[in-house]
Symmetry: C2
DNA sequence: ATCTATTGATTACATATGTAATTCTTTGAG
DNA sequence: CTCAAAGAATTACATATGTAATCAATAGAT
């Protein structure tokens, strides 16, 4: 699996939102949110390319970058390994933590409920 | 918040399971699960101490280590920051990923259901 | 009293990560 | 055709992490 660092993940997220994008566009997006130097972002694009987390096609003198890993796939694997590490693979205790901290809005609860209803249907 | 690395987390887990424990005991526990050198584990105990993730009391020539951060607290904060980073703070999509992958057992679903029932009661 | 085994402390070294600066290439301006 | 601006590639450097080895202190054996 592709290992993406914390900072690199933000770059991925920009590309997941919309792709392909030029380095210039990516830099512009990220600088609205973070205080990162353009050079820093270029480095991350480079490392992500090496890790094969993103790809590019040449567009004249510059590149157009795209994710090589879908957000879905990444979220899925990261979630699983996280829950594995912290909760021995059980997702319920994690949800319980959110519940305890009052981090679940009414709509969250509704969504969870309908998700579960769907799961029960399947059986 | 205390930042604990991947490998260090395994040491924490041994201490969360039971504490206080001597380095010797901790090493024994971890070596059943991992192929780590005793020196490696000592290093991690040292780093965790510096990070104030664990504490110790002298017991003759050796130390007895204990967690300085509860498992609850750690799980809570790590879960929140994880869900924040990957799912913009929403826990439901994470659960949905587990569901899709068939990672939810019947008992998981039951637990989630009763958890939600409890939440709805509160309102 | 001296020596050795044990335990913690310090040092080591490679790779990863955050954060850039510098260099190399290429293309458009003049 | 020449040169400077712009983009990518390479290099840099500090801290974190994985993985130990070495050093130092001390308690128990002889």
């Amino acid at each position: 699996m592709v290992e993406v660092s914390n900072a690199e993940l933000h770059v991925m997220q920009v590309l997941w939102k919309h792709s392909p994008q030029s380095a210039q566009e990516i830099v512009a997006q990220l600088q609205q949110e973070f205080d990162w130097h353009e050079k820093t972002i270029k480095t991350m694009l480079n490392r992500l390319t090496q890790k094969q987390a993103i790809t590019f096609t040449k567009q004249g003198r510059s590149y157009l970058y795209s994710p090589a890993v879908s957000q879905q796939a990444y979220q899925q694997q990261a979630s699983q390994s996280f829950v594995q590490r912290l909760f021995a693979g059980k997702v319920t205790p994690l949800v319980a933590h959110f519940a305890e901290k009052g981090k679940l809005s009414d709509s969250d609860i509704d969504e969870l409920k309908s998700l579960i209803a769907k799961l029960e249907d399947k059986q």
